[in-house]
């Protein structure tokens, strides 16, 4: 294995991590501000991808597709928040888990009802397709670089939003003390809808961006959802920094584990067995990482200590 290949794989890990971050950021914000576990976050990811695919197919523009993903996911998020989620804030986690589990069923089958049972087509725009040559001679897909770039810009914007703007101040206040921001005269209901829509929009955008290199199909959100949960739990629920660190950790573990574990096992067993054992272990690797982190720090890397 050459150093160049390792660099390429690290890039791949970064790229999948940064996309996970877009999912996880919304999830962690929603949990941090409203104390809500939203299992239906993966559905918003799917909504974004479907909206993008449908729009891109109709207009031929990838950019319009991204816009549609943002809008559709944000609207779906706001709608769900107003109709359902709002009634769950003062419930325990159990009710939230069940209600959002029900939402997954509705979203998934609803999407299938509208778009049919077959995967949709969504492709990389020509301007971003194909590989580029990086310093050192690495051939790397331009679109994946684009994803890393977009992800970093969005992450930066999010940190700026939370850290530097009035909205961010309110969000952070909301994390600490709901009564206090009510006392400050902030319209909590609106703030919550806004935060939820923001989280949804991020998920939807991630869905559209990733959808271009994956299969746009019903149920595409759930695997990502579980990964995103792993991310925010590792990072510490409610912490945006934690979500970023967690996402990169998970992305890198997942990518590099799949490559290095089989090789590691090949040192001690025969190649076929090593390939299979390695593959089996690497699919469990992130969950082991999560369990290890939680046992070590029960509230995640950046979570509030109780």
């Amino acid at each position: 294995m050459t150093p160049l290949l390792i660099v390429e794989q690290v890039l791949n890990g970064l790229q999948s991590g940064i996309m996970l971050f877009l999912m996880a950021a919304g999830l962690t914000l929603i949990f941090g501000v409203m104390g809500l576990i939203n299992l239906a976050h993966g559905s918003l990811f799917m909504v974004g991808a479907f909206a993008a695919a449908a729009t891109a197919a109709a207009t031929g523009s990838f950019l319009l597709g991204l816009g549609a993903a943002l809008v559709a996911a944000a609207c779906a998020g706001a709608l769900v928040e107003r109709l359902v989620i709002r009634r769950l804030y003062d419930r325990d986690h159990l009710d939230q888990v069940l209600a959002t589990f029900a939402l997954i069923l509705i979203f998934s089958e609803g999407t299938r009802w509208i778009f049919g049972s077959f995967p949709l087509y969504l492709d990389i725009p020509p301007a971003l397709s194909g590989p580029v040559t990086l310093p050192g001679g690495i051939q790397y897909p331009l679109y994946r670089l684009f994803l890393i770039g977009v992800g970093l810009v969005l992450a930066g914007a999010l940190f700026w939003l939370i850290g530097r703007t009035r909205l961010g101040i309110r969000i952070r206040a909301g994390e600490n003390d709901r009564e206090m921001i009510a006392a400050l005269g902030v319209d909590i209901a609106r703030l919550y809808t806004l935060v939820f829509a923001l989280g949804a929009a991020l998920a939807g955008l991630a869905g559209a961006l990733v959808g271009a290199i994956q299969s746009v199909q019903v149920g595409m959100g759930e695997p990502v959802l579980i990964l995103a949960f792993v991310v925010i739990v590792i990072g510490g629920i409610g912490s945006i920094t934690g979500a970023l660190v967690g996402a990169l950790l998970v992305g890198l573990t997942d990518t590099l584990g799949g490559i290095f574990l089989p090789r590691l096992f090949a040192l001690v067993m025969d190649p076929a067995a090593a390939t299979q054992t390695g593959a089996a272990l690497s699919s469990m690797a992130i969950y082991m990482l999560m369990a290890a982190v939680l046992v070590w720090r029960p509230t995640g890397l950046f979570g509030a200590r109780t």
Binding site: R112, P119, Y121, Q139, P141, I213, Q217, T255
Partner: protein, 376 residues
């Protein structure tokens, strides 16, 4: 005991109606992410019945949600409550393994429209079990044969880490004579293949064989096309099916894939089938549609020769395979699996849509590798 019960029910039916009815239970996946395959199976099957215009077949259709336990429940219901004579329709091997052994043990006929795992072809073969599709390894074997024929000497092969994935790579290797540049098992349901593609690029391979059914294949093909790696790809038909191709887009153009059927197969039955299917459903048929269609026609042909209540006669009638298969020549071997030609197709663009075109025959008159193990 149950068999006696069924027989007596059939006798009662004979007494009232002139013609013995055959009741078919079609269990397939109609909801969830894998619904497309089941819908095609159902539509192909029902089209054949409709064309035959017969009123002596009753079909009860059930959705297994791609869950093995649900499939088992449904099979129980169809056997116990609906008292069906024949079961069919299951798409997935793991569901078939959950349903078929118990169903055949209870004396029912099972006609497979798709899933045909090795266990049921070899040691676990059963007089009441017919695979009308293929044996699971067939398309992978064809890919291996084609790779050899095309002169590839250093293939990189990958499949998901589950039994069908392992069978796939073994099937490929059975007919492939070159070296392996690499062999990878990916996660089941994996969506990102950047890491694998990087390994392919670095491996010095001259071709790539992959088996990634469903959404996995779509993701892989898109990412592969975008990676700039331009080694020739070979895969089984599953990732190039009519319904999936549109979602893959141009990334699939030119890719070779192996299949037991193609819509451009040159025989009258097939031409009629493709036309009728497209007219009725407004879309092109897939391999699953074709297999569903063939299964129904096989069933009808057997019904013309024997009563379903007479196990021996009905089995013999099925064995004759006296129907016009959309695959052209079609016959069963002793283990009741097809003996058929396996083709190499290439993805081409026809007008607005992507579809497949036959470019070569990979193996002729292929049965399967487990025949010797079948003691029947």
């Amino acid at each position: 005991m149950l068999k006696q019960l069924l027989a007596s029910v059939a006798l009662a039916a004979c007494a009232t109606t002139a013609m013995a009815e055959v009741k078919v239970g079609l269990i397939t996946t109609l909801s969830g992410g894998g619904a497309g395959l089941g819908i095609d199976t159902r539509d192909g099957f029902m089209l054949a019945l409709e064309q035959a215009g017969r009123d002596d077949v009753e079909v009860v259709i059930e959705d297994d949600q791609q869950k093995p336990d649900v499939a088992v429940q449904l099979a129980d219901r169809l056997i116990q409550s609906e008292k069906v004579d024949v079961l069919t329709g299951i798409v997935w091997s793991n569901l078939a393994m959950a349903v078929v052994p118990a169903a055949t043990a209870q004396g029912l006929f099972y006609l497979s429209t798709n899933a045909a795992p090795a266990q049921l072809a070899g040691a676990g073969c059963n007089p009441n079990y017919f695979s009308v599709s293929y044996q699971n390894d067939n398309l992978h074997e064809a890919a291996g044969a084609y790779a050899t024929k095309a002169g590839f000497a250093n293939s990189f092969i990958l499949a998901p880490n589950y039994p069908a994935g392992k069978d796939s790579l073994n099937g490929f290797k059975r007919f492939y004579e070159g070296e392996l540049a690499g062999e990878i098992y990916t996660d089941l349901g994996q969506t990102d293949y950047a890491a694998e593609i990087a390994q392919i690029r670095a491996s010095g391979a001259d071709s790539v064989f992959f088996f990634l059914p469903g959404g996995m294949g779509i993701s892989f093909l898109k990412q592969y096309a975008d990676s700039g790696v331009d080694l020739p790809l070979i895969g089984p038909a599953f990732s190039f099916d009519q319904n999936i191709l549109q979602a893959v887009g141009d990334a699939a153009l030119g890719v070779k894939n192996t299949s037991s059927w193609s819509k451009d197969l040159d025989n009258a039955a097939n031409a009629a089938f493709v036309t009728a299917y497209s007219e009725k459903y407004g879309r092109l048929p897939s391999l699953y549609s074709a297999q569903g269609y063939d299964t129904a026609n096989l069933l009808l042909s057997a019904m013309d020769k024997a009563e379903v209540s007479d196990d021996e006669a009905f089995r013999a009638a099925l064995m004759e395979a006296d129907f016009d298969s959309v695959r052209g020549k079609f016959s069963f071997n002793a283990s009741q699996h097809p003996v058929q030609d396996l083709y190499v197709r290439e993805v081409v663009r026809e007008g607005d849509i992507l579809t497949n075109q036959i470019v070569d025959t990979a193996i002729t008159d292929r049965g399967h590798a487990y025949e010797a193990e079948c003691k029947m």
